[in-house]
Symmetry: D2
Subunit: 367 residues, 4 copies
């Protein structure tokens, strides 16, 4: 190739002209601090900031759409779920899922707020996501560091969860609290034929804890079902194991719960999914929504990546291929730690619309 023509070809490649973009595409523009610090305006500017800031902005919009639909009146004959004594008469049934670590963290307070004011309809979490809430009612969790030595911590009986510390004594207190309840559950199973399932056990524990700091106290009060099919996978399971050697016979059935969970999706008018983290909680909610040919709205917040083919890291578009999210939905994934993102989302959505979402009589309620 001759030199001049090579340079010309290079210029043509580099300086290729572009087709005009549509007029309505947003310009990228961040917050201007010269106008002072207006946090709400700052968070609104995220939409045009790009990258994950834009995803946060889109997640706020998506959750606000769920809330808008939720507030639409539903006629009585719609959405009747025969398997549930407390049908959700809502224009949008909101499924909230989160992993255990978020209950260990201060995100718990945001979740409790949602349960307290019945802003969500179905909760899915892991065993740790259940028990850590109760344990926090018995003793505190502390701030530590990610780099603390596991060996030194074990010698002191201090358990580490990321940069959180939970003294092992907390689990001893949990044992003291739980064992008599397990006795009663076995007794009721024998005496009254109670058919225990994970969701029923969580409901019962929420009643027993009787503490307004607890997420599951409010789930109990507000009849929000909490599904956790692998409820034995944690401290609750440890206690059940020990308890079973003294007082065997307890049965926890997961079949009745899958019926109840799926029905929540099948009989909903519309559904929205808000899922923090991956693993079981993400799959369980999405799978239930397949039963209705897909959720209408979806927000995922997690740090997983798609490259390893895990469901945890899959983009929402993978769920579209399965029919777990509707083909015409605009699902949003925020790639970030939920400890930062979820409080910001709640601030701009549920809490922002609190006056519409909270029934008048309880509006001034505060624990």
């Amino acid at each position: 190739m001759e030199e001049q023509s090579a340079i010309l070809a290079a210029k043509n490649a580099v300086l290729m002209q572009s087709t005009a973009l549509p007029d309505d595409i947003p310009h990228i523009k961040g917050y201007d601090f010269n106008q002072g610090v207006d946090h709400r305006a700052l968070l609104q500017s995220f939409l045009t900031t790009g990258f994950q800031a834009s995803s946060v902005g889109q997640a706020i919009q998506e959750i606000n759409k769920m809330i808008e639909k939720r507030l639409e009146p539903v006629e009585e004959q719609e959405a009747c779920d025969p398997s549930d004594s407390s049908p959700s008469h809502s224009g949008c049934t909101i499924f909230l899922g989160y992993t255990s670590n978020l209950i260990s963290s201060g995100v718990r307070e945001s979740i409790r707020y949602l349960a307290q004011h019945r802003m969500v309809d179905v909760i899915v979490t892991t065993a740790g996501g259940v028990e850590e809430d109760f344990i926090k009612c018995l003793a505190p969790t502390y701030l530590g560091e990610f780099s603390l030595s596991g060996k030194e911590l074990r010698q002191k009986g201090i358990n580490r969860i990321g940069n959180l510390l939970v003294p092992n004594d907390n689990y001893c207190k949990f044992e003291d609290w739980l064992m008599p309840i397990l006795d009663k559950m076995v007794q009721e199973q024998k005496d009254e034929g109670t058919h225990w399932t994970p969701s029923k056990m969580i409901h019962r524990l929420g009643k027993e804890i009787n503490n307004p700091e607890s997420v599951y106290y409010w789930a109990y009060k507000n009849d929000i079902p909490v599904f956790s099919p692998a409820l034995t996978d944690g401290s609750i399971g440890d206690m059940i194991y020990f308890h079973s050697h003294k007082n065997p016979g307890l049965i926890l059935d997961i079949v009745e719960d899958i019926r109840r969970m799926d029905s929540k999706a099948v009989f909903a008018k519309r559904t929205g999914m808000i899922i923090l983290g991956g693993g079981l909680v993400k799959h369980h909610i999405a799978n239930a929504n397949l039963m209705r040919n897909g959720a209408d709205y979806a927000v995922f917040v997690n740090t997983g990546q798609e490259f390893d083919g895990s469901d945890s890291g899959a983009r929402p578009d993978e769920a579209v291929s399965w029919g777990k999210i509707r083909m015409d939905a605009k699902p949003v994934k925020v790639y970030a730690d939920a400890s930062i993102i979820f409080p910001l989302l709640v601030a701009e959505t549920f809490a922002f619309h609190a006056d519409k979402l909270i029934p008048e009589k309880t509006q001034n309620f505060s624990n």
Copy 2:
């Protein structure tokens, strides 16, 4: 500060002298291809290559330690687990955990090899990790791309798992296969009082599939318990849901399984954990090993990160703080996709020692 003294201080900082390192610290040295391509030598050079290559080298060593201990003779009175009819008379009980996507991928063949030759003692997986194995006996999974459009795929009834494609017809075939089995299970529960648990159901399905390509066929044949407490969280759950409307009453109890799972750890002489991926499978195995004050050996392969406080991404040292791994253990985490890593690990460990691990009479066995 005067200029010259500032420069001198800079030099002192930059050219600080070092204390000698101990003589036995390995030098970093990679494979020299001038010696030709010797794959085994190449994989052995990983140990001194640094970064995750070294982690792969260390994981090979750690699994080989499990195998070495496993091959040690165990006296009969040791390790008697009264709750299990088939006690593992092994010097090291190996727990293998993996997420659903790995069964969807070709890692399934590596896992099946381990089950086929009873090289592992306890398996933990998710619902998808169970059903996808059976579904693959009914119809194939295909190679696709991560970027295929979810909407277009749904319109064609093709489900995407990362860069894999599973036609939805496969699930229809699964329904045809599973429904009569569910009928039988309900019948046996009524007639014989069978107390179904997830592990018993998987055992039964392994028998029913009767196909040597199946992981769970071999788990059934070799009496390897497979735990999956949230067995309803997937296609099996969908089928149970539909089935329950025609033929209700099936109970799947997770209490008996947690007893059995924990006992596997409690009554083991030593334990090793090999965990591919995060979520339930990682926590469940580690939690059981807490019941014995920690596993002796551990290899984690996953892409999770610790910064969000998730159990999935936690370094093994976090499990040490909980007593889930022994304080004097040398656990290894490989930060990489198991689809690359696990076949390499099996090649240099279980398959390398196949002649010692596989009883003579079955050594020439091949499906």
Copy 3:
């Protein structure tokens, strides 16, 4: 092992007692939305929320320490850097580094605010981090999606940066603007013996753009040096390549710039590093701070991980081993996309202290 003693050992492992933690360790507690949405209080609650929320809280504290020290009066004879005509008489010299994509995003407006009010002393960025700022003065960048087809975009001449879109025409406009300046630079080199370096070229371009929306206009106005040793690695390099065929001879020397850069660290009283992203910008600032035996304060915001041994993903503690951060410093790394984090950090630090940081006469300034 006998069964009862095995169960007892399990109990002892699970219910091990713990040593008391010190009294002053913070309890984990998130924001309570029952008190209404108070964004500042919400962001303050991050410190005790755990995981990366706590890291954000710690990063706010760390930057506020830089600001506090910066505001301390410095005696004239201190910190005299003989190689610099505009010595920074500040109690804490703040180095700000960021990758190109952040200038493409709306984070640019936060960075421009800092340059405009001389809140930072030294800037390090990549070639793209320079040119995209100027290009945005010529034509806008748009919001798109991560999943848009590269082929279709190329056919339209639209370049994608994550979920941002930049029409290729913008680069044609950049060429029109830059070429005459390159002519002048070559002329001045010949006529006046100007010894061009990347930082001098950026200074000149900042003057030429003469636009208060530009980061580098303000860096020019406020004499903030901007280092970008690989300034040819981007569109500027493309233009220099084309220009050199018409008007050869331009020299860009990186030796004089490394002298200037290192001197900024060597002669500083204290230093703080705020580094968004990885690669060159992270290493360059940290390496300069080695020349003073380590920065006093450091905040890293990036999504890199340490497991692959990259400098980008290294924890700050790795920099401590090199003497790039002081041994007694409390450096903070936030694992998250800076597009979310940096505006929040600026809101709670520089912008919060604007009245102290901005000289009185310019306080009401706004572009």
Copy 4:
């Protein structure tokens, strides 16, 4: 909605029928260890294993295409690059880029093999990627752990790079070696008017080290240009800083190097990019390939993610939008640590084809 119709709708969603996939789509199938351990067959099975294993398989294919084209005879008048005294008469010009840490690791030996046998045509790396190669000729790098305390290491003068350890004495030895060379470079600049650029300096250092273990010794011997525009960003820069106070005047010009770099792409018949890691090395190679309207072949190996809009994490498809990769190319990204992947890739590509790639007379060469 009535119950039965709701259940029916659920069934229709779950059991939707699928369109047939084309016949030629590969089935997912992993390696069967029952056939023994055949590493080459195992690596070939990666292509149908799914997830990143498939990406490794595709990367092997892509590099083998580069090699195939490279071996095609090129007519003399083609590909004449007037700015280069040693034109690459190759059917495919291969650009190899890698970050500093890979030279610190044992991947260096794989890279040296490629340079030694002139299997690649252009190298791009960072300052550390240059100097660590020379330093390793002076003293070894050691295997450590990611979790070693930065403070304790600094007190001992031991620098950490991920899980590698480099005694600071190594840098003192580097100073002893480099300072006289810098003297000579300044002298030659004065006496002979040598116009130094980073690539010329690296060429000279490769000559001076005169050690067959060095990558850059072989790059010097084989006239492979090595570009590193920010060559001052590392220990070389530290030494230049100190040296400049004793013997000022050295100029390192980056303009001549960008001309030379871009010409390598502009005048190539075809190009292939193999890029390990992100940051400057990734962008620099891709940007040069824009000048020829895109590379024909591309393999990226890194752990970066696209969600933060960084060039490091961008999928190859983003480069297609810019014209940096051809629209009809089939670029491959492997999401994994190159310390594992690159030796495997070399084994199945360059080393596998060594007999064709290495001229006969040097085939038995080994250092």
